[in-house]
Symmetry: D2
Subunit: 151 residues, 4 copies
């Protein structure tokens, strides 16, 4: 993966502050993991409140954390005051999301003035072993004015 540099030395705090304002991540019990310029991890411990009909973690929760990881990966490269919005993403589910914890990893592939392209993966961790359960490809938009809308 490419290495990126960010012009904002406070990028970790920006990501952390935004993440903690997300009610959904708190409801999930999700936590931030590693954060580097262009890369963010979100960790999600297994919880029955997140399941689908067979007791695995719901594809919707898998999608939510990897969408967030990709968006925050783009956000690390923004300047203070910029906002971040998901334009779209596509996700393939590859294995049941079972285990002790899921880890979603978002990685910037191509940063842009307006649009940033990212990829992501979600691994299920069980007894210390990682299994990839989903991969994602995503488009993120930088918001510089007041409006919080894809336009």
């Amino acid at each position: 993966m490419d290495e990126f540099s960010t012009r904002d030395p406070a990028y970790v705090r920006r990501v952390t502050d935004s993440f903690h304002r997300q009610g959904l991540m708190r409801t999930f019990g999700a936590e931030l993991g590693n954060i580097r310029p262009g890369f963010v991890e979100i960790r999600l411990p297994y919880d029955e409140k997140l399941t689908q009909q067979h007791g695995f973690i719901h594809a919707g929760a898998v999608s939510a954390i990897v969408d967030g990881a990709g968006g925050y990966a783009a956000f690390t490269l923004y300047q203070p005051g910029d906002g971040v919005l998901t334009v779209e993403f596509k996700i393939n589910m590859m294995a049941p999301a079972e285990g002790d914890m899921l880890v979603a990893r978002g990685q910037v592939i191509r940063p842009g003035k307006t649009l940033t392209v990212t990829t992501g993966e979600v691994v299920a961790v069980k007894d210390g072993q990682e299994t990839t359960c989903a991969i994602m490809q995503q488009t993120i938009m930088r918001i510089t004015g007041r409006t919080d809308v894809v336009d």
Copy 2:
């Protein structure tokens, strides 16, 4: 949209039973809406526990309910005993998910023996007005044996 017929007269009960086993939908406070062969609605009242950093409903929650609506739309056309899995989906976010309630609608476009293609939309309802906030395109797999894996 096409009209479909289902060979299983108990399809509404099959959808309802499966939906109620999903811990995530209970955590969200989501409810089933209209159900017809090849079509399912999931309704999600606004709740602060579902938000992103600006107070709108999180894209991850939007994705979760429309993924579920598409999957259950396919499931209406299955036979008793068949299982349903999301192979992949792609979603475009088009407007902030704000309002009193979101309604996700999943519609089968092409049913198949193994794979079913669906589309979906999520509308935000505010003061009785609907605004489309996301559209989705999805591939669903029928599981006939015991395994709960895309393979």
Copy 3:
């Protein structure tokens, strides 16, 4: 589908001029069909030079015409001088692309200042009967400066 109005009365000519500068569409033998604000058709007569290994029209040719139809659908709503670029698209193949002709139809779902969301379908026409062989969901970017790059 929604109805759109365009501020440029010469939108049909703008689409036609741009289309005729595309070497690939000429190589394919593709032609424009109906054009309305927010909607464009591209027709592709069957030709052996467009096939995959089983003699059907190649998924790559199917993708090319529906990508073009969606992009030009957005372009109908632009102002003179604006350029159009595909940010991304996702396509599901649903039936073999066989028959006398393919027709790709692109439709704007949500027009925007920077980004426009479209959907598309490709139908195969055989003995006057249409079969849907693909559906698409796409993000298009308006280019207002000189640069011809997604950024």
Copy 4:
């Protein structure tokens, strides 16, 4: 990337034979590059007959070669007699497809009995330098019976 092994020692010949039956690849002037188990390259020299309205290679041609590269990457892992079909793919365009040649690379991420997930990239080669101009995520289906249909 993962390393894969194939049970069919004649996999290179299978890929080559199928590729040479594709009228579209011949029309494009495309050629096979490196082939390994789970990995296939398709090379496309620049040609005016492949262009869009600004003289770059058309997104449709970019899509066609990376769709093919991903499909043949899956095909390397199949057994003699199996057929390969694209279920769906999603592609992000990241830079203009300009230069002397495009190289599309398809890589299997998760092989499966029925469905295989791949990723792909297209690089533009100019004066020996590579620029990534597109990335793709794809679902491929193995066809074991006579029917040539996603079902």
